[in-house]
């Protein structure tokens, strides 16, 4: 506990159990300085810690017991690793003399979590605890952040020792801060200065390196249009004239097709996920690619870079800004505006035709965006509502988008929203969840009840696992195999947890109820019945290239 306090930990998400009881006993003495949030399931704890880390920029801390407690963290660890979220998870373990003996609640959590943690370590002696925790925080936060797990045996937890704590500042085999090669940056600047149609695609790396200002200055000086990945949303204000939209499978039409028309593609803090690139053999082939990333293994992993820059985004963008010419690319930018118009017109027409009576998901998001000025923290789950939110919420603030990107974890949003609020208590937090995902972790309503955290929940209920249903409609001859969902009465459910709730079906009620929800003191659940068979467009089918993105 002293070690955690030395790392300025003031928020912990956890769930006690046999093998972690000595730690919880020590925690009892720190109730004044450390806020421990008791969740309802360990998966809830780790997603909450992820939400906390994403909005606060700090490392999320999780406590869980051995065996099932530890295995319940697995999904969250995998999610945090692929989405570069700094976490320190501390699990209890059976006494060291029992290791390997199939003792009660014993699991080889080190073995299980090895491929899904940035680092993990088992502590069997009390003397090792403070050094292990120091190392854990250093590794979790530095370089490309990620989750770390420390497994502490019960006898080590009981052990007494002379306490001393030294912050870890280096590990001889680990070099999180790359030494940027000036040559590479100069080469990049040269390419950019010669470019007629440069295009800047950004990812979460901007926020992880706190490079929002540097990005803004670079974009404004060079006049280059900007697009964002799912996790990068918010790193560049979406209301900025240079912002052209969201990339990928359900991204905006303009940035997707322009990827295959630009002459220089500058990728910063993003990793060319297959949901962004579509068919890689037909991705930006015409362009020279500059790839700036702090993780050397990402360079050339998916897209061969003409100029790979192994560097911290903040540092690289700062120097790059000095080296590039001041320019405007009005004609090029106009092409994006024109493409956007095509998208908006096509989508509007098809929407009018198909769903005139029922509320559509995008209406809810657009209105929410308007009512919150694009300044709320928006937490989404996985599926159609997630894509709709990414498309239509105007993320104007950094660290305001919390979603499960790489892993696509349904059930992420509710616990992540709880953590997001603890990470940014001064901001409104709105979780947008589908009827399917909500039921994966709805036990965390209990955490809201007990911790009294203020989280607004919008369930977009289409009575289907919508995204899978959309694919079944498009690619499996409408064979809706097990995607139809019968759900409980969410309003009654929320009320059982003393959470105010309302369900609406009429468009006319939308604005009023959204305002009521936002103005309500304390948590609130709003269930919106939306069109059953709405599809998310644009869409890039599997195997298609970015230029083949479909508008309907």
């Amino acid at each position: 506990m002293k070690s955690l306090v030395a790392e300025n930990v003031n928020t912990i998400f956890g769930y006690p159990g046999g093998a972690i009881m000595p730690i919880y006993d020590a925690l009892y003495d720190y109730s004044d300085s450390v806020n421990h949030i008791l969740v309802r399931h360990e998966q809830g704890a780790i997603h909450a810690a992820q939400g906390y880390a994403r909005t606060s920029g700090r490392t999320g801390v999780v406590f869980a017991t051995s065996g099932p407690g530890a295995t319940n963290l697995i999904t969250g660890l995998a999610d945090a690793l692929i989405d570069s979220t700094p976490l320190v998870c501390i699990t209890g373990q059976v006494s060291s003399n029992l290791l390997g003996s199939d003792a009660f609640q014993e699991t080889d959590v080190i073995g299980i979590s090895m491929p899904i943690t940035k680092w993990n370590y088992q502590v069997t002696k009390a003397e090792e605890i403070s050094a292990a925790i120091a190392k854990a925080f250093y590794i979790a936060q530095s370089g490309r952040p990620g989750p770390v797990l420390i497994d502490i045996t019960k006898d080590a937890q009981f052990g007494e020792m002379e306490f001393s704590y030294e912050k870890c500042i280096k590990i001889r085999s680990y070099h999180p801060k790359p030494k940027m090669k000036m040559q590479a940056i100069e080469k990049a600047a040269k390419l950019i200065n010669k470019a007629q149609k440069p295009f800047l695609v950004i990812g979460q790396g901007i926020m992880l390196s706190n490079a929002e200002n540097e990005l803004l200055q670079f974009a404004e000086k060079s006049g280059i249009p900007v697009a964002s990945t799912l996790l990068g949303l918010g790193a560049f204000p979406n209301n900025h004239p240079l912002y052209t939209g969201f990339l990928g499978m359900h991204g905006d039409y303009a940035p997707n097709i322009k990827t295959n028309e630009c002459d220089v593609l500058i990728a910063v803090g993003m990793r060319f996920d297959d949901r962004v690139t579509g068919d890689v053999s037909r991705y930006a082939k015409q362009a020279k690619v500059i790839h700036i990333d702090i993780d050397a293994s990402e360079l050339h992993k998916i897209i061969k870079a003409d100029v790979p820059v192994h560097a911290d985004a903040k540092e690289a963008l700062e120097i790059l800004t000095r080296l590039v010419d001041e320019k405007q690319h009005s004609a090029w930018l106009q092409e994006f505006t024109d493409a956007k118009k095509t998208e908006v017109d096509t989508l509007l027409r098809s929407a009018e035709l198909l769903y005139s009576d029922e509320i559509k998901m995008d209406e809810v998001i657009k209105m929410l965006s308007e009512l919150t000025n694009g300044e709320a923290i928006i937490v989404t789950d996985v599926g159609q509502h997630q894509m709709m939110t990414a498309r239509y919420y105007q993320y104007n603030k950094t660290k305001s988008n919390v979603t499960s990107g790489g892993l696509g974890t349904m059930g992420f949003a509710l616990p992540a929203a709880i953590g997001a609020k603890f990470g940014a208590p001064e901001k409104p937090v709105v979780a947008i969840i589908g009827d399917g995902g909500f039921q994966m972790t709805l036990q965390e309503l209990g955490t809201i009840l007990q911790s009294k955290v203020d989280v607004k929940i919008i369930i977009l209920n289409n009575r289907f696992l919508g995204m899978v249903r959309q694919w079944q409609q498009m690619f499996f001859e409408k064979r809706y195999s097990f995607t139809e969902m019968i759900s409980p009465d969410f309003v009654t459910l929320a009320k059982a947890y003393s959470i105010e709730a309302i369900k609406i079906e009429a468009r006319t009620d939308l604005k009023q109820t959204l305002s009521t929800m936002l103005n309500h003191k304390g948590s609130y659940l709003l269930e919106v019945m939306v069109a059953k068979e709405e599809n998310v467009f644009p869409m890039m089918p599997t195997g298609a290239s970015v230029s083949e993105i479909r508008l309907n």
Partner: protein
């Protein structure tokens, strides 16, 4: 195009390191032909020598992901022509087989040696490349091989001072 590659990984000596190294290969569905590990010329630093058949592109990506492991200092990849490598094989045959003069000839021809002689069995040792140890195995088979064991590849690189140079640079950059 698939080729044989020798991957050398320099790591800290920590529990579970072997596992951390091998799961990088498993994830990409790559089969390891052989793996050996022992302390390197630098005290406390372990050297893994891994042999596998794959494409250059795949193995380069594996190197990137190996180097991402916290306890890995550095990983290198080499083609067969860039390393000097060796394997060791042990063959156990019945002592009675020796009475036949041919076995002596076989041992002589293959530049193998007898490691130990027990009233019941003899252990023969041969170092060389896989093809060579395999050839001896086949030559001994008519006399009955009771046991046969072959080690993984150990290899040193032909370019001079790779890892130690790297470590020195590391020390320099700290000062």
């Amino acid at each position: 195009m698939e080729k044989t590659y020798t991957v050398s990984v320099f790591t800290e000596n920590s529990i579970g390191m072997m596992n951390r190294v091998t799961i990088i290969f498993t994830r990409r569905h790559l089969n390891i032909d052989s793996i050996t590990a022992s302390e390197s010329e630098v005290k406390g630093v372990f050297r893994y020598t891994i042999v596998l058949r794959t494409s250059r592109e795949q193995v380069d990506k594996v190197i990137g992901q190996l180097e991402k492991l916290i306890d890995v200092f550095k990983a290198f990849v080499h083609e067969d022509s860039e390393v000097v490598y060796q394997e060791i094989a042990l063959y156990k045959i019945k002592t009675t087989s020796l009475t036949n003069g041919d076995v002596e000839k076989v041992i002589r021809q293959h530049h193998a040696r007898i490691l130990t002689v027990d009233p019941q069995f003899v252990v023969i040792e041969k170092t060389g490349h896989v093809e060579e140890t395999q050839m001896l195995f086949e030559s001994l088979q008519p006399y009955g091989v009771l046991e046969f064991a072959r080690s993984g590849r150990v290899a040193v690189t032909k370019p001079m001072k790779e890892f130690s140079t790297y470590l020195e640079e590391l020390e320099d950059s700290k000062n």
